[in-house]
Amino acid sequence: MTSTILIIGGGQAGAQAVDTLRREGFEGRLVMVADEPHLPYQRPPLSKQFLAGDMAAERLPFRHQPFYDQHRVELKLGRKAARIDAAGHRVTLADGEIIGYDRLLLCVGAKSRTLTCPGAELGGVHYLRNIADVGAIRGGLKEGARLVVIGGGYIGLETAATARKLGCAVTVLEMADRLMNRVVASSVSEYFAHEHRSHGIKIECNTRVVRLEGPRSVERVVCADGSTHQADLLVVGVGAVPETGLAAEAGLACENGVTVDEHCRTSDAAIFAAGDCCNHPSLRYGMRVRLESVDNAFEQGKTAAINMLDRMAVHDRVPWFWSDQFDNKLLIVGLSQGFDQQVLRGDPATRSFSVCYLKGGELAALEAVNHSKDYMAARKLIAERARPDIDKLADPQIALKESV
């Protein structure tokens, strides 16, 4: 009988695991250790409504304190796990407390990749990952303030859009030749570049930052081509790296994340991992992946919880993602890596279109711009490994679900 389950990490995966464990009838001791001083909360609004000041802080938590009291969850917030003793089944916190466990779940997430160029340590250089980061950035987003965003990915672009709405002068510097280049088709990149520019944001691609300058706080961003950009503050969104320190030190197998199987089990039988920190097999795509995705964290938190109770749940999900930029919603489902055919549905000029990716005749992924109908239909078709007719697929007058 499992008597103590310890969860390290208070994000989406950890919050879901707590919920599932009690729902599934786990009666034992349930402890959550999280290094932020907040109840487990949602991160997606951080670069959007919360940064804009349109969403009160009390709307961020998944659940409020009474839920944790009622379900007898020992929350150790603002506390850091320092070491896992896998052989001894116990975790030592930075303040010295030792917590024994029968099952341990790591939901430690990912951390922002940091700049390494000269000047990276200057004041005014921000990353956006948690509530404290938003607190530090928000004060600087005054009307007329010059914000330089490094990295034209989701975080960078969402932050740029929010800051622009607040009246800042915004420049986005992207190293690649187009925005969100790792995650979307070039037509989608172009669409969003146009949207941002039409709102007055300066977008510079093929631009590598080599140096930040300023006496104490950043004042100038210097690029490889010699161009410079004046800045009152900087937000860096150049990707994230999984938090594997604790796991690796405990001897768990790690490779681009904590290695887990389809049951969220690590290389130690008593330790599980879920969410952004873990590298897992995707059954649909037949490869190992590490995802930064709310749905993936939710689903793995649930799967891990069930398996910690010695029941057998399998993580088998088609991943999905979304991004809100100005009044546009980008919805992505599936993984497009290795596709052999790309089909555009609709006309970007109508502000609503989709890009379909096929591999070996099967629909593998879809990116929908302001088109929830295609996105929802694709979720089903991709999971079913549907083989759409290309001519029907390319015809936006034919519903996606009728293309098979």
């Binding site: 949602q42 997606p44 609004p45 009160a56 709307r59 998944f62 659940r63 409020h64 839920f67 709310v294 749905d295 939710f298 999905w320 979304w322 809100d324 919603k329 919805l331 302001n370 088109h371 929830s372 109908k373 295609d374 996105y375 929802m376 239909a377 979720r379 089903k380």
Partner: protein, 106 residues
């Protein structure tokens, strides 16, 4: 606070007091209403906070926007009175609102 009734898939009725200024989904989640999953947290990106609105209330809520409508088409067993609860803002005018939670979410 407006009082809102959730009728579970099994027919059990639960009434909650929902604070003005948040969404129906958030109010349901705060009160632990079963069956409102809300994976995306209210971004209109997942269709897992689907509810059936008591027909008399449909007009008062106004029509769903295109994005929500597109989501609802692929929700689990959509009906003409389907809505995503994350797109319904709680206001004083919703005192007495009654919604039914579907048997499953998408």
């Amino acid at each position: 606070m407006p009082r809102i009734a959730f009728i579970g898939a099994a027919g059990v009725r639960r009434e909650i007091d929902a604070p003005v200024g948040i969404t129906l989904m958030e109010a349901a989640r705060q009160h632990g209403i079963d069956g409102i999953v809300a994976r995306c947290g209210g971004a209109c990106a997942c269709a897992t906070c689907h509810v059936y609105v008591a027909p008399a209330w449909m007009a008062k809520l106004g029509p769903a926007e295109d994005m929500e409508q597109g989501m609802l088409e692929s929700a689990w067993e959509p009906r003409p009175n389907s809505r995503l609860s994350c797109q319904i803002q709680i206001s004083k005018a919703l005192d007495g609102l009654e919604v039914t939670v579907p048997e499953r979410q998408a």
